[in-house]
Symmetry: C2
Subunit: 332 residues, 2 copies
């Protein structure tokens, strides 16, 4: 199979490229590197079956040759990232989805949209099944991402209904693992970094809001099964770990795993922050025979070496900058 | 003032162009004529202050000279129309909004988005205030319009927040009056046409679902006041008539106004048809000093001559086609 992955140098995208290569796909990875990082796919670039194209899919593009699948995973995905790039986030969900759907249609390829639990907004039912319509503020600060993804879903469905493009979309819940950016603003890398630096660990609100964290290899397994599923022309499936944890409990677990002696501090909750978010994965179990295999303790332990290394690199980088500054000061 | 109106040859757009001209604006009307009609603005084309440009705003465009306001009113707007043009409806809310916002930003113009009560979906509170987040099915048949408008709102707000573009958007509830297309599929022109033809008048569902109908001159008054309001950089205001009526009652009133002896027949309800839709216009009253002036009886009577004439033209057109067919048959 010849498969295109937009956002292939992002956190989830790069793990997906890796898996597709391992399964024998030829992989074309497109990324603008706005929030993706070339290092995430550096280890793949020597493989003949892998091609990296630096391109922003909000601009029209075309890829020569046949394609069996188009996987649209490009988008800033953490609140910090999409609030830094609000218009670009809207564009990649709108224009980017339009361009990649057009390509899938032209190539007769299967189209997969990386959708998100954010389409459920601040949900009024818990856990959320795929049939839940969501509770999203169209004009709130998070709408640049939430509404872009809802629009992307609507357009994906429209291409399926009007042009018969076979489409699948996972609605991806919180995911973690190696290659998350330390500074992407999410709770887990924040807390991990703070704990490893022995700084106070920040919990927003009173910490009673819940999340469910899925380890990245579990997610990729679900995505891969969804991609290969030939059952129907349209599949919408929640992928996430249904085990809920409060953010306060998560902070305690991170202190334990890292062996940190940091204290936990509480800060005010950002606007429209969801109180609860937990996938109902009944459909994924039934259709894909999928459920997460990696426990939180196991996943945190698997992620820890990455964070230690990334933090070490960052800090030695910071120290290098500091010493360069000092050198410059000396020279003046 | 020099004002651009996209969708200016549509039902609401053409009334708006008329009003702006009457208030001394220079008006540039852009329309793709996909659902708009050149006849709607034919009576304005002799005015020097009016320019018609045939263009589809889903394609990039630029307008020479200064602009004080950009009013983005282009979109298929009835369920029948947007289900006939699903991808185009998504594009005009996405790409069209992006292009017109870019123009407003470049010109330093005020931007107005014609938003809609459809952003509230099938609401769970009644009447709906502007603060209500809505209840929309992102993957239902109506999502091509609802999600496109929610996306358009999110992008409009993002341009305001990121670039300081002054933005206003009316959320427009059901509106009626001259220049509605007979075949746009909405309840009112459907019922009117059926009543005038002495055909059975169709009510979908059991007729207990409610709507609120605003006469077009009332709506345009509200839009004009909103446009001129200089109070703030961002204004979101419901515009509609808060007087609710069941569709069954509406059917009876139409029979009365038209003097028709048609019977009322009931048909199954389409998917995701909203049960209720009624604006809370507290904000419009406070900020704009606006409320509808035209009663339903008065509005129906004002609209009747248009429907009689349009129906007469259509029928004589149909008869002409029939007799042409007969002539052709004779000639064979």
């Amino acid at each position: 199979m010849r498969t295109l992955v937009t956002g292939g140098a992002g956190f989830v995208g790069s793990h997906l490229c890796e898996r597709l290569l391992a399964e024998g796909h030829e992989v074309i990875c497109i990324d603008s590197l706005i929030t993706g990082r070339r290092e995430n796919v550096a280890h793949l670039e020597s493989q003949r079956q892998f091609t990296f194209i630096l391109h922003d899919v909000t601009e029209p593009f075309f890829v020569a040759g046949p394609l069996d699948a188009v996987l649209h995973f490009a988008s800033p995905a953490s609140p910090k990232d999409y609030l830094e790039h609000p218009i670009h986030t809207l564009k990649v969900g709108g224009l980017g989805t339009y361009h990649t759907l057009g390509l899938a249609k032209a190539k007769g390829a299967v189209f997969m949209l990386a959708s998100t639990s954010e389409v459920y907004g601040d949900p009024e039912v818990n856990p959320q099944p795929e049939t839940y319509w969501g509770h999203v503020n169209p004009v709130g600060p998070r709408s640049v991402y939430d509404e872009a993804k809802r629009y992307a879903e609507a357009m994906t469905i429209a291409y399926h209904r009007a042009h018969g493009v076979p489409v699948r979309f996972p609605r991806i819940f919180n995911t973690y693992g190696p290659r998350m950016r330390l500074n992407d603003g999410r709770a887990l890398p924040n807390m991990m970094s703070q704990a490893l630096r022995e700084e106070p660990v920040t919990v927003y609100g009173d910490g009673s809001q819940t999340r469910s964290f899925c380890y990245v290899s579990d997610l990729v397994e679900g995505i891969y099964r969804l991609l290969l599923n030939s059952a129907a022309g349209l599949l919408i499936v929640n992928l996430g770990n249904p085990e809920e944890v409060t953010l306060a409990q998560m902070a305690r677990e991170i202190l334990e795993v890292t062996g940190s002696r940091s204290e936990i501090v509480f800060q005010p909750l950002p606007e429209d922050d969801p109180r609860k978010r937990c996938p109902d994965i009944t459909r994924a179990k039934q259709i894909l025979g999928w459920q997460p295999q990696i426990s939180r303790l196991e996943g945190l332990n698997k992620t820890l070496p990455y964070f230690r290394e990334a933090l070490g690199e960052k800090e030695s980088g910071d120290r290098r900058q500091e010493s360069e500054k000092e050198t410059m000061n000396d020279e003046r």
